[in-house]
């Protein structure tokens, strides 16, 4: 308070008003950070080893047990699969003669058809003999074995569509 001010002046001065207002504001309560009651826990400096669940023997025998069980399961599974495969193979072997017999007949028919076709096609050509190249046999066949016609000779007289089907079927096999 300055000496040249009356008490009334002092009360009404702007500084005093500001100070009074400041006092009326609720003050922030500070709390000092202190250690917990009873103090901090002691510092852990020693090594902590985990609790042991299984010993070496237990682990080893567990491994052996699991592996053995897996082997047994695998062997049983494989035997089952083999049995099923053998059954399928049996079925395939069993029906082979029936398919082969039919196939042989169809093949011989086709060969005969081809020969007839060639006779018909080349009847006006002088000096042509069916199954030979101008009288010279195509194969050296002293022992009279069954001649295996080449693919081109088999499909020559087919229609283009049949040729296509035949080749596609052969390719799939």
């Amino acid at each position: 308070m300055r000496t040249d001010q009356s008490p009334a002046d002092f009360r009404n001065s702007p500084e005093t008003a500001a100070t009074t207002a400041a006092i009326e504001v609720k003050m922030v309560v500070y709390k000092q950070d202190l250690p917990p009651g009873g103090g901090f826990d002691p510092i852990e400096w020693a090594k902590r080893t985990p609790r042991k669940r299984m010993g070496g023997f237990t682990q080893f025998f567990a491994f052996v047990g699991f592996t053995t069980a897996a082997w047994v399961a695998f062997a049983r599974n494989k035997a089952k699969r083999d049995r099923e495969a053998l059954e399928l193979r049996d079925a395939r072997i069993a029906i082979e003669p029936f398919i082969l017999a039919e196939r042989d007949r169809a093949f011989l028919k086709h060969i005969r058809k081809n020969r007839d076709e060639e006779n018909e096609l080349m009847k006006d050509v002088k000096g042509w003999e069916t199954g030979t190249l101008w009288g010279e046999p195509v194969y050296h066949n002293v022992r009279d074995r069954f001649k295996r016609a080449s693919l081109e000779e088999i499909i020559t007289h087919m229609s283009p569509k049949d040729q296509d089907d035949f080749l596609w079927d052969k390719m799939k096999r």
Binding site: R89, D90, I95, P97, F98, L100, R145, K147
Partner: protein, 171 residues
């Protein structure tokens, strides 16, 4: 064609027989029983086919095989049609390879019917896969003789050594 007019090829009449017009599911589902029923003729045909290596010579055996299959399938059709159809439907819808493993129940029904009516058991596992013996009346084929040309003359005697330093000695 490599076949001349002198080569033997069977005629169409010889080659035309009623063929088995059945689908793969039928073949697969009857395979074991069919194979067992026609075991002898099948073995005869396959032996002929492998010995001769010539389809022309095994036409009759092949016809016999097809006839036997007709006979068996006719018997099945006569006595076990319902059981067979059930089994065949199951096989037909049993996976990509028409496996047997999914159809044990219908298989047992079919087997029982075949056992009752045709008195035939399902052959044991591996019956067709193992090596089996077959005695045949057909004579063993002998290939026609292979006539070879005359033998070439022996080469000269090279064992006598010559001495080049003495000049030519064979003149």
């Amino acid at each position: 064609m490599p076949f001349t007019n002198q080569d033997y090829l069977p005629s169409y009449e010889e080659l035309t027989v009623p063929e088995l017009e059945i689908t793969s599911a039928v073949f697969r589902s009857t395979a074991h029983h069919l194979g067992k029923y026609c075991d002898n003729v099948s073995k005869e045909f396959m032996l002929c086919r492998s010995e001769e290596g010539d389809p022309r010579k095994c036409i009759n055996e092949g016809k016999e095989v097809t006839r036997c299959a007709f006979e068996f399938l006719g018997l099945v059709k006569k006595s076990c049609l319902a059981e067979f159809n059930q089994y065949m439907q199951c096989i037909d819808h049993s996976g990509g390879e028409m496996e047997f493993k999914n159809c044990r129940k219908t298989q047992a029904t079919f087997d029982k019917c075949v056992k009752d009516n045709l008195d035939q058991d399902r052959p044991e596992l591996g019956f067709f896969g193992k090596v089996r013996l077959h005695s045949s009346n057909r004579p063993k084929p002998t290939p026609s003789p292979h006539i070879l040309p005359e033998r070439a003359p022996d080469p000269p005697d090279f064992s006598r050594k010559t001495d080049p330093s003495k000049g030519p000695q064979n003149w």
